[in-house]
Each structure stands twice: as structure tokens, then as C-alpha cells.
Amino acid sequence: MDHEETREQLELAAVEPGGLDRLMAGDTPLAQSVAGHLAGCESCTAELGRLRRSSAIIRADLHEMPPADLKSRTLAAIRAEGVQRPLVTATPGVAVMPLGDRAAASVTDTAAANGSPTAATRPRRTRTWSTLALVATIAAAVVLSVVTTSLIVGRRVDDQLAQQALTIGALEHVTTTTMTVAAQPDSDHVQLAGVTDPALDGSLVYSPGTTDLVVVATGLTEPAPGYEYRCWVEVNGQRERIGRMFFGGDLAYWAGATPAIAGTSSPRRFGVSLVDLSAPTLDAQPVLVGSD
């Protein structure tokens, strides 16, 4: 074994935990060859010493470095679980809403179902929300957003334009998802009705096969800091979080994957509740409910 072959074996062993010790044990033909070369080669023995020291430093240091994808995972978790702030990205026009965020959709809240009797017995509204009606509602929200922004003057106009681009991008996503979900053979619509406020209205379309779900609501106003509206689904008395409602124009919405609606024949009950973020629970009194 020559110098280069020896150094290759030493380097490859150095990056594996305990690799150099195993190689130095000399209990394989390869290890014996390396040991034989080292016994008569001062420079390769010195190289072994340098490798031991440097590899130990590198290993210790890299173990203390966060993985590269931790940043994106942290930001995704904050988008899914963080309080609602008027998100502004460095790149205007790139939507950052957690639409379709499976992490958000899969977060389970095991709070027991606690819908009000009034809500549970409330008849579904007779008004039919067709897919086109849903899309028209979303389009109206886009128009409202554009009109509102066109009236803005002053130094915050850039921020407002960026926010408008985000809102429009998100609403476009909602529209596209609505059309896609409605085209599924197993898609279903659910009318959401205000529990105590008849001015609240909403609709939900979903596909148990793809688990995609879109919910939109009108009449809700953006909650105070420290609160957020959360959409949920209840199956067999078990409530699971769907996602945080976002606001665009006068529309509140959420769209994305909802594993909780997959593969069950049990009746599903959907709702939206105002959640206090200091003690988040889905037990809160719903403001909108509906069943399929």
C-alpha cells in the first residue's frame, strides 16, 4: 500500500465515528495493510495524528450546527402555528400563507367536542353555495382588495401593495383549489351558518379522496391581537384543527390538505371558533357551524 492509498483509507475512516480506531485495530486485511505502511512511514503517521485532531474538532463543531433545513421548518411551523400578523415577505407577490400546509392541517387538537345545542340543532340554510358562487365570492374579495389598495396614498403604499399581492395570490390559490376540489367525483359542499350572528355566512367544499378542503366565510372581522379564528372538523365527537382563517378583502378563508376528513363514513361537523392564543383550544364556542 502506497502513501496515497493509505491516506485515502485514513481520511475515509476519520469521518466515521470510531473509524480510525477500527482501522488501527488491524483486524481486517485492509487494516493490516494500512498498519504495515504506517509502521514504516513517518509522514503518514504524522498525517494520522493530524487527521485525528482535525476530525475531532470538525465533528464536535458540526454536531453543534443546526441542520440546513431547520430554518425552513421553523418558518413553516411559525406560519402554521404562530399568531396572525400581517405577513410581509421580502419578495412581493410570493404568497406565504400556509395554504395547503399539511403540517398545519395535521396538528390535532384533542379537545372534546363542545358545540352549543343551538348550533347542533340549527337547520342548514336553504341557500345553495355552488362552486361558481364560491368562486364569485372570492373574486369579489380580490376586487375589494384592489379597490382598497388603489385608494391608499402615502409612504406605506409599497407595504400595502406587497400585502395586496399576497392577498390576491392567496385568493387565487383558494379559487384554483375550489375548482379542483369541486371537480372531484366525491366532493361535497357544506353550508356554514352563524351560531349567534345571522350576518355570518360561509361555505366549505372538500374531497375525502384527495383530503383537499376549502373554507370561506363572510361577515367575520379580523380578530384582536392574541386571538385567531380556527376552522375545525369533528368526527365521532373528536375535534381536529383544520387551520387558521386568513383574511383578504371581506373574506376569511383557508385552503389545503386536511387528513382528518379522509376515509370515514361517519358524519362530519365543521365549524369556526375564535381561539384565545394564550390558552388555545378548540373548545371555544363556535361562531360558524355546519354538517354534511
Binding site: 440546513a68 421553523t74 418558518l75 400581517p86 410581509v88
Partner: protein, 225 residues
């Protein structure tokens, strides 16, 4: 990166931007502080998974409770490290472990004097246990310079080399396991590993540098050196 290349007093302004909803500001704060927080929690728990979870929770707390940060009472780094430390201790208690004894330096924010850190911990009633003495200033400076050099070398490294060296050193995978994970030929993995190792050793300084330079290493077919 927490390496002193920004003005800590600027953190307060960035927190204000973030509180107004700027995700770019949140990213900036992550870039400045996440590495140091991860390292501190890893030193306490010796568990990378726990350190990852604590970093996520710490920045979620920053996002949710930005309004409660008061720059008059301390730096953002100290605030974040206090949150992270409490989260780490909670996790260790949950699994019945005591936190590793660490030097005061590990509990201090990067821009915080050890005496300030001790005062902060004492005021809060935190238990500050004894441990082996911290490195002397010269050793600590050398260690910091080493960390900085390695991180620059990692940042400047081609992505394919960075991938293999991180899988080897962070996840303790063998060359064969890395080849399987990445779907690369074993020979390619070995070559990229050696090239990455050469770069890192060179970054450590001449006393650690390999005898042979990169020119001695074979280049896999189809790759530029």
C-alpha cells in the same frame, strides 16, 4: 449567524419590523441567533433532535410574543437564550434527566458578559450549578475563531460536498449509507467526502491541513473540479 458581525442594538429595530408582520425580519433574526441557540441547547442536552425542537419553539415564542421583549432590560440574544434554556430544561425534566453541567459561558448570550449573565440568572432565581472551569479567554477566542473558520468553509463549499460531510459528521452515516441515501455511486461519495474534508482541514489552519492538496484527489466523471 451569531458572530458579532451585526450591531446587537439593531436587534430591537428588527424585532419591531417583525412585530409589524415582516417575515424577512424574522428570517434575519433567525440567521443571527439560531446557530448559537442550537449550539447552547445541544451542549445542555447532547441531543440534536431536542435542540431542533427547542430552536423552533424559541422562534415561535419570539414571533408570538415579540411585544413582550423589552430591549431596556437586556439584549435579544439573552432573551432568546433564556427562553431556549427553559424549554430545554422542561424537556430534560420530562424525560427524567438533569441538564448537563455547563459553564457559565454556555448560558450567556454571545454578546453578554459572563457577570451580566450570572446576575441575570441569579435575579430570575435560576439554579446555576458548578461545572468544570470555562476555557481561558485565549482558548475561548481560538475556539470561536475555529468555529467561524469552519462555518465559512462550510458555506463556501460546493453543495454536493457539503451534503456528504454533513451526513457523515452530523448523522454519523457510513460512506455506504450516504451512497444509499443520496443515490450516488460509492466512489463519488468517497471522493466528495475527501474533498470536503480537505477543505475543512485547510480552514482549521496549517497544523491540521492535509499533506496532499486537492489536485491529488480524483474527480468523478462529468464533474468539474
Amino acid at each position: 449567524m451569531t458572530n458579532g458581525r451585526w450591531d446587537p442594538t439593531d436587534d430591537a429595530a428588527v424585532v419591531l419590523e417583525m412585530a409589524a408582520g415582516s417575515e424577512a425580519a424574522l428570517e434575519k433574526l433567525y440567521d443571527r441567533h439560531a446557530t448559537a441557540i442550537f449550539a447552547a441547547v445541544y451542549r445542555m442536552t447532547s441531543d440534536r433532535g431536542t435542540a431542533e425542537e427547542v430552536v423552533q419553539e424559541t422562534f415561535l415564542t419570539l414571533w408570538n410574543r415579540a411585544e413582550t421583549f423589552d430591549p431596556m432590560t437586556g439584549s435579544l440574544a439573552a432573551w432568546l437564550h433564556a427562553i431556549a434554556r427553559n424549554r430545554a430544561i422542561d424537556r430534560l425534566r420530562a424525560i427524567g434527566r438533569r441538564p448537563s453541567l455547563v459553564g457559565l459561558g454556555a448560558l450567556s448570550a454571545p454578546d453578554e458578559d459572563p457577570m451580566q449573565a450570572l446576575e441575570r440568572l441569579a435575579v430570575r432565581g435560576s439554579v446555576v450549578a458548578g461545572s468544570t472551569p470555562a476555557d481561558d479567554p485565549e482558548t475561548a477566542m481560538t475556539a470561536a475563531a475555529t468555529r467561524d473558520a469552519l462555518r465559512h468553509a462550510m458555506a463556501d463549499m460546493p453543495e454536493d460536498e457539503r451534503q456528504v460531510i454533513l451526513l457523515a459528521y452530523q448523522e454519523d452515516l457510513s460512506q455506504t449509507e450516504i451512497a444509499e441515501r443520496l443515490g450516488w455511486p460509492l466512489g463519488t461519495v468517497k471522493t466528495r467526502t475527501r474533498r470536503a474534508l480537505h477543505r475543512l482541514r485547510s480552514a482549521l489552519g496549517s497544523e491540521f491541513a492535509p499533506l496532499a492538496d486537492d489536485a491529488a484527489l480524483p474527480v468523478p466523471a462529468g464533474e468539474d473540479r
